[in-house]
Symmetry: D2
Subunit: 414 residues, 4 copies
């Protein structure tokens, strides 16, 4: 894998640029939204847009500046940091109508001014600068969450509202799926400090043992998913994990999230550009881990492990990351990452020798290392520059509002 070697400590000027760019992108993404759009919370796993905007701001104030001027903000916009104290119960984030959206914009501007002044004044020590960089990546992560969550919210409005207008999609011929071999043997996995920013959960770089196998050189498409459905995919328990089958029955799943069968028997899906016909050449998206697993079983293959994935990903290009004028995966491409996150078969567990970040930031990743699955890659909602080939995204197996699809893996090719 080609990596940039650089000191763990980012350059202050680069950091200032990263900060400015990151903050601006959030503003751009929400510029289409009314205040009304920014308040509701559509489910416990999701958060209001206004909350995302304030929480990411609080993160800088708390972690980098070390002083939260308004104690209410500390209570309202702390997500889950137990060390910082009590906070608004997660299911009640959508009850916060005060501070208003305009006040939150003011809060953002104020913190921006203070961070910039601190940067320019050289007031931030090494750890503060590290946390500033982490804060930028944190905000990028929330840019994707904000879009996921807002899409989920809009989807509950029966009038199928439009976040952004864009042209109709184009159906293309899907390239034949090839297999990239994975050689048996010891491989290395994870990030080095010297490679630049990474989250603690990607470290340390360590050895693992790969079995012989192969990974598909492109993601599974909508067209292929329709074949699975036509073959009774959602009605055949033998294809499913036990908990997955329970989810199918309990939730009445019969297609990916946001899909709806129209009166003419075609399928549409809800997108950030309203309800649209599904496009066979796009990667399937808004499927749970359970559905990905069932599809792979149906196809006679399996999901890749994250070690396999990382061993192969070095040769692939990132592409189809967030385009604020589109916010939807494009057609599948070979030897490419992006468009949709890819479920792996790996549970989200610590790497051998894992050390959480120091201080409050120790709660960032480590405490979630149970009962979730790793996704690799990036999606059409992931801001460019956010993800890495060592990046470990993670969600519970039942999640469907993630912009996630799958790529197959298999045993030795003979």
């Amino acid at each position: 894998m080609t990596v940039t070697v650089r000191p763990r400590q980012a350059d202050p000027q680069e950091l200032a640029d990263l900060y400015t760019t990151t903050r601006a992108l959030t503003d751009r993404l929400v510029s289409r939204l009314s205040p009304e759009d920014q308040v509701p919370q559509s489910m416990t796993s999701a958060s209001p847009v206004a909350w995302h905007r304030a929480h990411t701001t609080w993160f800088f104030e708390e972690m980098v500046l070390g002083r939260v001027e308004n104690p209410g903000h500390r209570f309202l916009f702390n997500s889950y940091y137990e060390a910082i104290g009590d906070r608004q119960p997660r299911p009640q984030r959508g009850m916060i109508t005060r501070p208003s959206v305009a006040e939150i914009a003011g809060y953002r501007a104020d913190v921006d001014k203070r961070v910039t002044a601190a940067l320019e004044g050289g007031d931030l020590d090494g750890r503060a600068l590290e946390l500033l960089e982490m804060g930028c990546h944190h905000e990028q992560q929330h840019q994707e969450l904000l879009l996921m969550d807002f899409k989920h919210l809009l989807s509950l409005n029966p009038t199928d509202p439009v976040y952004l207008e864009r042209p109709a999609d184009t159906l293309v011929d899907v390239p034949e799926c090839g297999w990239v071999p994975v050689a048996e043997g010891v491989a290395e996995l994870g990030a080095e400090d010297s490679w630049g920013f990474s989250y603690d959960n990607e470290r340390p770089r360590h050895r693992t043992y790969l079995p012989e196998g192969a990974i598909a050189d492109r993601q599974v498409t909508v067209g292929e998913w329709k074949e699975f459905m036509a073959d009774g995919g959602y009605r055949r328990p033998e294809l499913w994990l036990s908990d997955g089958w329970a989810s199918v029955k309990q939730n009445g799943w019969e297609a990916p999230g946001y899909w709806r069968r129209e009166e003419d028997s075609t399928w549409t899906t809800f997108t950030l550009s309203g309800r649209r016909p599904v496009v066979d050449s796009e990667p399937v998206v808004h499927i749970s881990f359970y559905e990905a697993h069932a599809f792979a079983t149906w196809a006679g293959h399996r999901l890749p492990t994250e070690a396999e994935w990382e061993s192969v990903a070095g040769d692939w290009d990132f592409g189809d990351e967030l385009d604020p004028q589109r916010c939807h995966p494009g057609n599948v491409r070979r030897n490419s990452i992006g468009g949709v996150w890819e479920w792996t078969q790996s549970a989200y567990l610590p790497y051998p020798g894992f050390q959480p970040e120091e201080g409050v930031a120790s709660e960032y990743n480590g405490k979630f290392m149970s009962d979730q699955y790793v996704l690799r890659g990036a999606s059409a909602l992931t801001p460019a520059g956010h993800s890495r080939k060592t990046y470990r995204n993670f969600f519970p197996a039942e999640s469907r509002w993630v912009c996630a699809g799958l790529r197959l893996a298999t045993g030795p090719i003979r």
Copy 2:
């Protein structure tokens, strides 16, 4: 009971005035609110402010004008009329961010124009005029709901926001409680058509038999409630109905809704003017039927029946109805109705000979006649002119977000 005799059919000019005044009051009540404030739904029983504004408008469009121009409005803003078709699931009213608050204001203006034109053009037949009058009372009812619901929403914001500023309350000497005797015998109950507007659930006027007894000439105060609490009121199962005691334990009730014990052991309560000390001379408010019942048992008395209440209420004055500059009960007064709704011991059941309204409006009241209790009077959130001495308000026994308190009744005074 003194009643105004007038034909069932209201005068068109009076109706036009009622319409204008009613619509204007809604606008005035929400004029202090941001768009953000108007979107969230704080619990299934409550609705967003914006939804109240749109639903009351849709009611006129559907029932009076007979034509809903935007089919989305019919889906989104139909509350529970099965005859009209499918609708937004009740628990998801807070997900509606489009139409925006501004668009809803436009919707209101448009329907106002159409209704006014129809009135002026004489296009409304007798039934339409009746429904127009009902629509005005319906909107008044929603004015109170809007304030109740918005108060509940604000109460979930830990920063204790303020809807309206107002001066501190004044503690006064509470008048001694007297008893108004109720004579044994046949009495009449309910409304006559000829008395002007009434809901179907108040009709027909009919005979009932009253036992000898007495009703308190004022409501129970905060100070008296504190005595109940000090005497273990919330810890003594023998005072409670079985379902009430289950509610106490399940919800951890130890004081009325919105009360909080401060560090100095005093009690505050959340009001539409923020968090304030409770005032001993005000009527206790935000109690459930179960709490009212337990208090009455503790006091050695009971709640009145709605028949007893109505037989006595004729001699009382309405007072302490909605003052948009206050929105909170004032101190208790003798021989007066208002400030807080009063729980009765009567289940909400049809009167003998009850006939629901014709058509779609038949669903207005009748289908809710189970598993609820009748409240009588009016509250500090009830717009003047809305309630009547025959008025039957109703809520489930566990409800605490209603502006409701109690008045005692007792057996024969000897």
Copy 3:
């Protein structure tokens, strides 16, 4: 109404006979059951047979003898008496496998010996004798509950077990339904102390006002219920109370409880004699209040109030009470009570002047006077001599495991 005049204080010898007979009937009813049958609790509202046997025994020990020898019994077999202290959580009654069924039989024998000795020795004062009589009626009540609960338990066994064998039912011609007029005016309702035993909730006898109307002289049949179903009864929201319609949708109701549509489109029902075809000439049974209410609406009539019912019932005969060789309603008869309890439209509320029993027994009835409906009459599971024309049975509106049906009422017949 013809009533037996007797002192409140029952004759000791009669009481001894009542005690012996009552206790023997419980034993007879359970003699067909294995120990296994007596342990499980099928739902929170139901109790295990063994628990019923022990609880009724504990009732005599606690209330009459005034001394519970085994403190474990006090904890395990106290149903809901808060004044007596903590007890086994209601949903965990089915976890009690020790004491064994044989030990519970021994407990019954021991208490029988002690009660009989106390009676013979004249050790029981007037209040103890009153409580002994109440204890017998309490045990009769549990005989019906035991059968209801055990039927519900067996119904969850897909093999359709048989509690007792009996011959096939006979379809007969159903008599035309006549109407018994109810004259408008003041009537008396409830029991006098001098009439012999009654529960506190039947007292005091008091005046009420009856509107002009009429009550059907027989219950609604299975055949009539099928017409309701055929006419879309379970699919037409306009026939239902709002909470009732919510129950229909949530529980998927499309027929009375225990009914099942067979492959040949006929209906069977689960009985204590296994699964059997429904019989058109029997009263419909295992319906909720909501279903009874919907049927009455569909029929263009309504349910009677309990006052109307009691005013008419004086002329009817009790019949079709518990026959341990049948345990199932027979065909409907005119001018007769029994077979199935009859839902009224009356909420279960205290009569004017209601005084609960003294002491611990005060919790027997009064604290349940909310959120339930009154049923009148008796059923094929009610032991003879248990019910009275003033008897007030009560259950929540959604209950279907009660042996309950309905009788129609209507407005003036012209």
Copy 4:
């Protein structure tokens, strides 16, 4: 690791012996139970004793004999095999009072006769013999479940019943805990077919990469757990995984399962011999994965992976397996496996190249490979000969009714 080499195909005579011994042990374990004891289901995850007895019998009938004589048995006693058809809903296993316990004993005897005849008559082909062996291991697994489930049931009886009498426990000096080094490098993991019986989830044997580290040579004791508790273990969120902390708060955990603080501040625990003081020198037991993880964090160490565990376990002896006269872990010993299952940090996932069993048995293990954690070793409820060093037990992270404790692991020892 020392392993016995033998053909996958077991010897028929050995199989006959295994069958006889296994079936007899089940009978011995339940010989102390009344019919009542065998019916209730204490929670959805647990099953009634009678159901365990019938289900294990059905397994032989269905899988080995290939013919279920009573179709009701197929419905009632199929656990989760979708391919076999519909079955009794899992939460309703406790509703089965028919067939009776005696009939289930008869069912067992009948199937025993048929299996023995088939074995003696040479009627079973190779696959049937394999399934017979699996059926014996399946029944052994249910012997442990039966004891776990029955213990949980008894624990809900406030009288603390006794399953078996046994002498008081003896407190001993706990040996100092040593560390067994784990060398970095490629290791092999899993079972070979040639080693005799194993479940599909233990296969195939495959390579893995071990980091340098060390594993404790004994389990964590009750005494050590008390130190964790005394140091605020259950009150310090920083020690817990996020889902674990949520479990602590939701369930009010403040000690291991079955522990109770007595009035003299000592701790007791519920055992199959009734309630007893906890013994400091025994391994801590009835802890969830979350608690094990929190303890390890508190201790400055971590849980082992299953690969680390297996690499070291070769040098340890099995001990403290099921003694039907004790059914409770003894004091901890060094270099020994048994007494309590040991939570690992490994999620329960398929080994590379995993192939489920063929046919219906494919549902035995594979479909549960999500959202669970691997436990290794054996417990004082595991019948001797059941577990293996390659054995993978698995339960959800929140489970506390398993006889499970923990053993620490750590990074390199320097």
